[in-house]
Symmetry: C2
Subunit: 347 residues, 2 copies
């Protein structure tokens, strides 16, 4: 593009979706809803919290006195493994349904109620990555598709402030994984190279959109980012899923997560909400997965401040995503943000 | 499906997306964010509102003393018509971009600041439909893709309480229209029938998911609904875009909108937020569009009450949409909701 400040569209090669980029639109006054920016400090232990050590959950189970990570089966999971097999009643070609079975787990990141990922010491984040890997291995041996993700902040529908993420595993491929698989496969077939390996190479050469990099991971605001400060965390090595990560790759991932989430919090001096998750190659298939590269997506909604978020609504739901600031501007702001957490020293 | 209360997936034939349906999940306790339910009555005229008659907008223009609908070009539109042509700088096969030009208009539904669509008299809604048609005709003569939509409520990113919608028109096909076009086309090629005509026939016969019907329109919770109370408003006649609507079809559409939005407000006794919009066949093409049926989508986020919404976050952003109550339960609740607005009599 000759001038990135003019309205244009960019295409996401992983999903095939377009995003409309309208940089001039960021100048409009905002009179709409603002989000609460809750600065009250929560206690390290909350007797009412169903995720704190020793507390009782909704199904009456009592949490152990854990330190570090703690994983349990979601008491109200969207998927069950004890799924009785049901018949698809093919009454009409437009009424397409299939059964779905799987498991949902909750993973507490820390026994401390009031710490988030960027505030945890690096060793604690390493333990989170280890725990993800262990559960990935168990679940991938049973299910085709293992989704490891975190909703952070009440604006992202997180119903519990206690630091935690989720793992949903199921027999079928979810829509996003099916699409990303097809797109990466087609790229490999056409170019004889892994799509995200090529992308890592391009971004590390041009550097405009790079937010952080260590020997094993690249954090970048992708050229096709839809959310204002969306980032892509890509393995630099030929790693296709969590099961393949070495100790060095896991430690480097913990560092990348620490730096990225710290920069996020420092952008607007707030606990930066997001949904994030890891995209692993489908498991339980006998097909070659050389086209797949392990990666994570961070989708944070804030746009201008701790209280003004981007709403993906009317046009975005009915037509396609739209963004105001360019990916390059967002990357520059994240590059400038400090990697020392703004709360450090205050504790 | 033998038992709709078991976890299953359904497929949207218009978009190709799947939705995970987990009816048992609605039993979980909700401890997360709630939305404000603002019951304070706004005045009929607000001197600070940039959309009220006679007031000044951000670009210094003064609104006329209008009655009924009033349309102007968005002062901070995401698209401009005076787009200078820019070259695509093809540096890399993964960096795909193209220019985008078009127009964004704002359409005020009424001079009254404090009325929403369900509260307007039917004649006023007819005028809204007429205005949509007029602007559709002008814009479709110039652009391939005309999106007419409304974001209602601050939870849907609506920055102005004054009742209004938007029209975004552009040269390219948006992602959603491109996909719906391909899907409807493929169905027509395979079955020799229009997809949504077949769907109307099936739903009017079975009636389980029908919310409202008159001689020209069907309002249904589609089998594949992703949002809790999502509805599809489909033309029963062979109408492909807004330009083709007769007077009778327009009046019937106004009635359908009145009943649907009234039922929505009555579900939880609140001004029910949503994003809604119309999907017209692509214009400016010389190809046959017999496969296309004019329809509208209503995407409302509320799930359990005026303050608890469904969050389409982690799993939904990284895997696929997930819903708790079934489409059939949602339809039954909408069927039971009165078509007399709960505020009527209070004014
Ligand atoms: O134009 P508005 O109402 O200020 O803005 C709203 O609708 C637009 C179109 O859906 C979105 O792009 C914005 O994110 C939203 O806040
Ligand atoms: O399981 P939670 O945290 O209660 O629920 C949250 O995350 C889920 C997975 O993304 C979503 O389906 C819910 O809408 C959201 O509120």
């Amino acid at each position: 593009m000759a001038d990135l400040e003019l309205t244009h569209r960019r295409k996401n090669p992983l999903s095939g979706d377009w995003v409309l980029v309208s940089p001039h639109r960021n100048n409009r006054p905002w009179l709409g809803a603002t989000e609460a920016n809750n600065h009250t400090e929560a206690p390290a232990f909350d007797a009412q919290c169903p995720l704190c050590p020793g507390n009782q959950r909704a199904n009456d189970a009592i949490n152990p006195q854990y330190q570090g990570t703690f994983v349990f089966t979601n008491d109200f999971g969207a998927l069950n493994s004890a799924q009785q097999s049901v018949e698809h009643d093919a009454t009409h070609p437009l009424l397409m349904a299939e059964t779905a079975s799987g498991e949902c787990r909750v993973i507490c990141f820390s026994e401390q109620h009031n710490l988030t990922l960027p505030e945890l010491p690096i060793e604690a984040i390493e333990q989170v990555v280890d725990t993800w890997q262990q559960h990935y291995q168990t679940l991938a041996a049973q299910y085709q598709c293992v989704h490891i993700f975190e909703n952070k902040g009440s604006v992202m529908g997180c119903s519990q402030p206690h630091p935690h993420g989720q793992i949903w595993a199921h027999d079928h491929l979810s829509s996003e994984i099916a699409v990303e698989d097809a797109k990466q496969h087609a790229y490999f077939a056409k170019h004889g190279r892994t799509m995200l390996a090529d992308y890592v190479e391009h971004e590390t050469n041009t550097r405009t959109r790079v937010v952080f990099e260590n020997s094993h991971w690249l954090v970048v605001v992708p050229y096709w980012a839809a959310w204002p400060f969306e980032t892509l965390v890509v393995a630099k090595d030929d790693v296709r899923h969590f099961g393949q990560m070495s100790q060095a790759q896991k430690s480097a991932l913990a560092e990348a997560i620490k730096v990225l989430t710290t920069k996020y919090d420092n952008l607007f001096n707030c606990s930066f909400p997001y949904s994030m998750g890891w995209h692993n190659a489908p498991s339980q298939t006998n097909t070659d997965d050389s086209h797949w590269r392990l990666h994570g997506h961070f989708y944070p909604p804030l746009l201008r401040s701790a209280t003004v978020k981007k709403h993906m609504v009317g046009y975005e739901m009915l037509a396609e995503s739209q963004r105001d600031i360019t990916a390059e501007t967002a990357a520059a702001l994240l590059q400038q943000a400090s990697d020392i957490h703004y709360k450090q020293g205050r504790r």
